[in-house]
Symmetry: C3
Subunit: 303 residues, 3 copies
């Protein structure tokens, strides 16, 4: 069974202070930046088509989210994704708004074929990206996490990405040594979906954890190169994929634990949002390591 | 006298969870999304010229606000307004920034001629749009609500829209059966104008209430079609206009009551903003029904 | 020694309610608008290339910040800067993102040559703009304020601007009568850099104070014309530069005092952000006048 060392992941993020470039929607830019600062990363939102990719060369991680993308931002993302790939920089695709309209659906599918390190979305979005559903109405989700697991497994297999499905219980899917691993993370709170950007900023934090990987047994001297490796032959290295999986799980566990803690100080979605940023920042490695996670494998009912 | 059933309006909004497309300024996107979530609606901010209108076809309501519009966003709004009209989807125009510069004033006037279901602005903006004033300096208002009532009545008559003027006491104007009805709503707090987006997000909530209409006596089986009806002959149906008026009043009453409640937990504009989101979310139908509203008619002093 | 009357500066800002046009990055638009409202100014974020400059003609002050600039916003800023110069309107340049990529670095350097009234940035940004360093990674700063004082003095001399370097102790540099004055301001809190926009919004508040100058001895009847004067011969007027310096110091002192007060009500960056807005709004002229400032001159160690 794969080993998930959340303690080490948290320590690495704090020690690394990774610079995360977010090419993301304008609705959540402020919240995502505050979330990245709260967890110990440094945000940068440069998304000009002329220089986004040059910036990617100095970034430690990249998030791509087309929620309010302009044509300029689509072009910037194309270039940034190429630069991330060329520099082995991990990057995360958030397929928010897939299915909402043809043009953006086409663009999101195109990005998914460019070897993202991880894909994070809600159940509707993951199903739509995998070709198993119609997509959501924007940011909310009309499918259930467990119901879309086959879609997530299919998406992981076809893209080579770690696939994360957000919901009351998150599910993270990774193919390691031909086995479909599924890690479930419980936590958060019912108020969380009432704060805009809690999903989108989780994609940014996923990029931050991927950008500050722990050194794993069996990996080479440069852990960041390992993590970003995306070609089929290299991703077959189980240690590399396990390190990536740990990073994605750590990001979701960070949100799950802080999201539950925040509810203790909230009278509604406004105060919840404030308490959530406080809790993200205060979270210790020990608290993270106590996240309620369950590690298992996916057994296709069709098999 | 027109009947305003706020209790029913609140219940409908909660039951409908309408998807509201906001083509709005980037300053207030986050706050508007959080406000929509707090009152029980689902926000989506797609504003790409290539696909905004396709999304409008699945949205239940539309807000158009050109506060920081790019040329792309102007084009997106043109297409979305056409789609909303074709699908009888209610839409709200916020004329923020009218009078600030010629180009945007031209575009705002053009949108106002496209049969918005409602127009919401502060006193300066409504006066400027009606051709009775010079517009504001951006988001603040230099005219008084009562002083611009003739302008609001004129604007309602020429556009066929419900016209809402925001201020310490809001005034909502609707022409029903040839009579100019004026509903005044008292509430809110002096801190409210110190939180950016409290006006702009009210436009979004107005669209949300218009998108989830109560079934009214005398209306047809499809209440949403009723509400969105904009042609002169159809808007002459008193029941339709009364339902629209109720929706616009409910949105303003929701803000007025929650805005007053929020002040009890505020030490300044920062904490007021947080408490306001909490209060918007906690507001019950009973509390909404106790809003301080006054229903009357407009008597022109010139008559 | 130059006289810094913070009491008078605060009174003037409250009495003037200046309209501040912000051509700024989308990440911080909401926070910057709320900050401007909290200190008693009126924000407007119009940045369309077709009409931004027309709006500048009615604005009292202008902020230019290219953090997420599109080509359209670069064009809008060009026009707005010309309009500000033509109308003697004070304007502030925030060089955020300088050094991050060539295209934007070129644009920021170009703006710096257009006679900004003040330039505000962190140590890395000021060093990079002066040609003494490589710039930051986005919003964070890797150099120390004191270490970049020679760069700030050089930048003040070459641009004619007041140069403000933000950090744990801010330093404001102004050349008056051939003497390089340095005003240091202590305050704020370690949580402040964990809230996105605290730096960028300080640029906006600097523009607000510059837009509402106290009448100074020796100045002409129109104080706003004085403050905005940028040509070499006119800026040689010591009274004019002292008034400008006072405005820039007042903005930084406002943040320093409110930033320290906010920490008393904060459990983390989320609640700090809320308390900061409350404190900015509650700050009295008496409290501002008690800011910990130190007025001195710069002695080049090379001399």
């Amino acid at each position: 069974m794969v080993d998930i060392d959340l303690h080490s992941a948290h320590r690495q993020l704090g020690a690394t202070n990774p610079l995360i470039q977010c090419i993301t929607n304008t609705v959540v830019q402020q919240f995502s930046a505050n979330v990245l600062l709260a967890v110990g990363a440094a945000p940068a939102m440069l998304d000009h088509e002329a220089d986004a990719a040059q910036f990617t060369q100095i970034a430690s991680g990249l998030l791509v989210n087309f929620g309010t993308a302009t044509s300029h931002q689509f072009l910037a993302a194309d270039a940034a994704i190429e630069a991330a790939t060329a520099h082995s920089t991990p990057w995360v695709l958030d397929p928010v708004s897939i299915g909402a309209a043809d043009f953006r659906t086409t663009r999101i599918r195109r990005a998914a074929r460019c070897h993202p390190t991880a894909i994070r979305g809600n159940a509707s979005e993951i199903a739509a990206l995998a070709g198993f559903g119609l997509g959501g109405r924007g940011v909310d989700s009309t499918d259930e996490v467990e119901a879309v697991l086959p879609a997530a497994v299919h998406l992981a297999a076809t893209t080579g990405a770690i696939v994360a499905v957000s919901g009351p219980v998150d599910a993270i899917v990774a193919q390691i040594d031909g086995v479909d691993h599924v890690v479930r993370i419980e936590g958060g709170h019912a108020l969380m979906p009432l704060v805009i950007g809690t999903g989108c900023s989780l994609g940014a934090v996923t990029a931050a954890y991927l950008a500050s990987p722990p050194t794993t047994p069996g990996s080479s001297a440069d852990p960041s190169a390992d993590l970003a490796t995306t070609s089929a032959s290299q991703s077959a290295n189980p240690a590399i994929t396990a390190a990536k999986l740990t990073a994605v799980v750590a990001a979701h566990a960070h949100f799950a634990v802080a999201g539950a803690q925040a509810a203790e100080h909230a009278q509604g979605p406004g105060s919840y949002s404030v308490a959530f940023l406080d809790a993200l920042h205060a979270l210790t490695a020990d608290q993270l390591a106590q996240a309620r996670i369950e590690i298992g494998t996916f057994e296709s009912s069709a098999a």
